[in-house]
Structure formats: structure tokens, C-alpha cells
């Protein structure tokens, strides 16, 4: 390829670039505002709304907090009532039966307790329990926390424990007696649900209307 001489660089000196123009205008604007001759549509003197936009949502939340909280609470109550009836009707057909298991082994592990904003770490006993059902042997573990209100599972005198299992899943043992809802409970749930809805209508409409 034949050698070409390099092109001379193009030089423009006539007009300044757009950036330079903008800078110049801004400068003049600043000068004008310093001389108190700013125009009415110059927003730079007013509040910075763009910066406020981010914090406005928190302000709105704070402003509507009590009403929103009440509405949330009401919605939560309605949905929770509904969910409870659903769960009750699901547990209607479950039939668990108690079974006796023997303690095979026990170990100490650390466990954390909470009581009214305070926390303690204790050593607790974890038991290995073994039980038999229809000729097969199953093993589960149970962490004995010994908290108030916990079910009494372990009987230390006899070295046994009471578990609840179901015929369909004998390996899946429960330590508490699982809830089996009666028709009475379902009716109670329905009544509560209806009462909440009636209260909703009364709250919205007023009692006398």
C-alpha cells in the first residue's frame, strides 16, 4: 500500500461547543440572580422538590398512620378469621392416636429462652425416642425445653414418652395432641366471622342507618 501523509487535524475556532454554551448561560444566570434580576420561572431559588420526593412517602405514611393501622388491623382480623375456619375444616378429618415410645439416648445441647425482652441460654436435654408401629421401628428426637405451657412428653420414672401418630404417616410423630375440630368449633368460628362482618358494616354505615 502506498504511503499516505497523515491528515492535518481539523481545528474549529469559530463557535463554542454546546457544553461551553450552557456553562456560559449558567454563569450569566448566577450573575443575574446576584444582581436581583432573576426571572419568575427560575426554579433554582425555590424549594428543591426532587430531593423532597424521596422523603415525602415517609411523611405521607406518618400522616395517615393511625387510620392505616386501624384498617390494617381490621383486614388482618378478617383474614385471620377466614384462615382459621379454613384450617379448622382441614383438621376436621384427622384422627391421631397416642403411642408409647422408649427413651434410647439423651444429650445436652444449648437452647435459648425469651421472656419479656430478656434472653437466656441454657443447657437442655435432647432425647432420642424409639417406637414401634405395625412391626416397624421409628426414631425421633425431642428437645425438652421444660417451659411453662409445654406438653408433658417425657416420663422419667418409666423412661418412656407419649407421642401422637396417624395411620397414614406413622413416622411423623407429634409431641402435642393435634387439634381435631368438632362441628361446634367450626360453628363458633363462623359466628365470629359473621360478627366481624356485621361490625364492619356497622362501623361504615353507623348504627342508626
Amino acid at each position: 500500500m502506498p504511503h499516505r501523509p497523515a491528515k492535518p487535524p481539523r481545528i474549529r475556532l469559530a463557535e463554542p461547543s454546546a457544553q461551553a454554551k450552557r456553562v456560559t448561560t449558567l454563569r450569566t444566570g448566577a450573575l443575574e440572580s446576584r444582581n436581583c434580576t432573576a426571572q419568575a420561572d427560575d426554579l433554582s431559588l425555590w424549594t428543591n422538590f426532587e430531593a423532597m420526593e424521596a422523603s415525602m412517602i415517609y411523611f405521607l405514611i406518618a400522616l395517615s398512620a393511625p387510620a392505616t393501622l386501624f384498617i390494617f388491623f381490621w383486614l388482618w382480623a378478617l383474614s385471620e378469621n377466614h384462615r382459621k375456619i379454613y384450617l379448622l375444616s382441614k383438621t376436621r378429618k384427622k384422627d391421631y392416636f397416642p403411642i408409647r415410645a422408649e427413651i434410647v439416648d439423651q444429650r445436652m445441647i444449648k437452647n435459648r429462652f425469651h421472656a419479656h425482652k430478656r434472653t437466656w441460654v441454657h443447657y437442655c436435654t435432647i432425647y432420642l425416642l424409639r417406637y414401634q408401629h405395625e412391626g416397624r421401628t421409628y426414631e425421633v428426637q425431642y428437645l425438652d425445653e421444660q417451659q411453662v405451657g409445654d406438653p408433658v412428653v417425657i416420663e422419667k420414672q418409666t423412661g418412656t414418652a407419649t407421642l401422637y401418630i396417624k395411620n397414614e404417616r406413622p413416622a411423623d410423630a407429634h409431641f402435642e395432641r393435634p387439634l381435631k375440630a368438632g362441628y361446634f368449633h367450626i360453628c363458633l368460628g363462623l359466628a365470629l366471622y359473621l360478627i366481624t362482618w356485621v361490625a364492619t358494616v356497622l362501623l361504615i354505615q353507623g348504627v342508626g342507618h
Binding site: Y58, S64, R83, D172
Partner: protein, 170 residues
């Protein structure tokens, strides 16, 4: 007005403002929780294979764990809609892990040896719910629970809105 009355009014206003801030905090928390639940409810159910796992027992004094039963971290290989990605699940308690694997919840994890864990988890498929867009995943049980909660919230809010509309226009 006397001076002590003005002081009392200012104190009462301050207390009111503190309550107001507390309400706002609770509302903000509730909103965040609902948004989180909706996000989980919108995830897609899928399956993933366990590539790696780590079993560890934590001291409950580090404030993240309730007790010193084994905690399992899983690395999963997910595939949804032709997209392939790896992710690490949050540390799972052994009870939650067993539930996800459709095993009895109270299986004796404290008495399991390394070979038992390998036998249980090596190459195992697990049901998860994932969002392939930002590559996040939770266990399938969380998805079911979130969907249930969101459905009942929707029913309740729809009922409330209907009641308000009926009250206004009848």
C-alpha cells in the same frame, strides 16, 4: 394560660408525637411484610438439585439461632424456563429441611453421622419456589403459606371494599 398549662400541653404533644412515630413504624413494618409475602407468592414452583451442603451446629449466643440443633446450608442447581443458575439457600434448621424433603419433621438429626447426611442429601432433588429474574429461592412450604396468607388478605380487602361501595351507593 398559665405557664404550667403550656408546659403540660407541650409534654402531651411530645407524647402524642412519640405514639404517632410508633404507629408509623408499625405501618411501615406491616407494609414491608405484606410486600415481602406478595413477592414470595409470585414466585414459581420448581425443583432443584443439591450440589453441596454444609452441616453445622451454632451456639445460640450468636442471636441468630434458637438452639444448637444442626443447621444445614444447601447449594442448589436450579433450572426454570431454560435458565440455569446456582444459588445458596439461607441456613435451614433440620426440622424445616426434613419437612422440605418430605421426611418426618422430628427425625433424629443430632444422632446423624456424616455418612448419614451424605446418604440423605447427595444429589437429592428438592422442591423450591424461585424467582429466576433475581435468582432468589425459598422452600416450597413458604410459597404455600404466603399464597394462603395473600389469598385471605385479598378476600378480606375485597369484602371490605365491596361493603364500603354498597354503603355509599345504597
Amino acid at each position: 394560660m398559665k405557664n404550667w398549662e403550656i408546659a403540660l400541653a407541650i409534654v402531651l404533644l411530645l407524647i402524642l408525637m412519640i405514639f404517632w412515630a410508633f404507629f408509623a413504624r408499625v405501618v411501615y413494618g406491616a407494609l414491608t411484610m405484606i410486600i415481602q409475602r406478595i413477592k414470595i407468592a409470585c414466585m414459581q414452583p420448581g425443583t432443584a438439585q443439591v450440589i453441596a451442603f454444609r452441616v453445622s451446629t451454632h451456639d445460640p449466643e450468636d442471636r441468630l439461632y434458637e438452639d444448637a440443633r444442626p443447621v444445614v446450608e444447601l447449594e442448589l442447581n436450579c433450572e426454570t424456563k431454560g435458565k440455569h443458575f446456582h444459588l445458596t439457600l439461607e441456613p435451614l434448621t433440620s426440622q424445616n429441611l426434613f419437612k422440605a424433603l418430605e421426611l418426618p419433621e422430628h427425625s433424629a438429626s443430632c444422632w446423624m453421622s456424616d455418612s448419614d447426611w451424605h446418604q440423605l442429601l447427595d444429589g437429592r432433588w428438592i422442591a423450591i419456589a424461585c424467582n429466576p429474574r433475581n435468582e432468589k429461592a425459598v422452600l416450597i412450604e413458604q410459597l404455600h403459606y404466603s399464597r394462603e396468607v395473600v389469598a385471605f388478605w385479598l378476600i378480606a380487602s375485597a369484602g371490605l371494599v365491596t361493603t364500603v361501595l354498597l354503603a355509599w351507593y345504597t
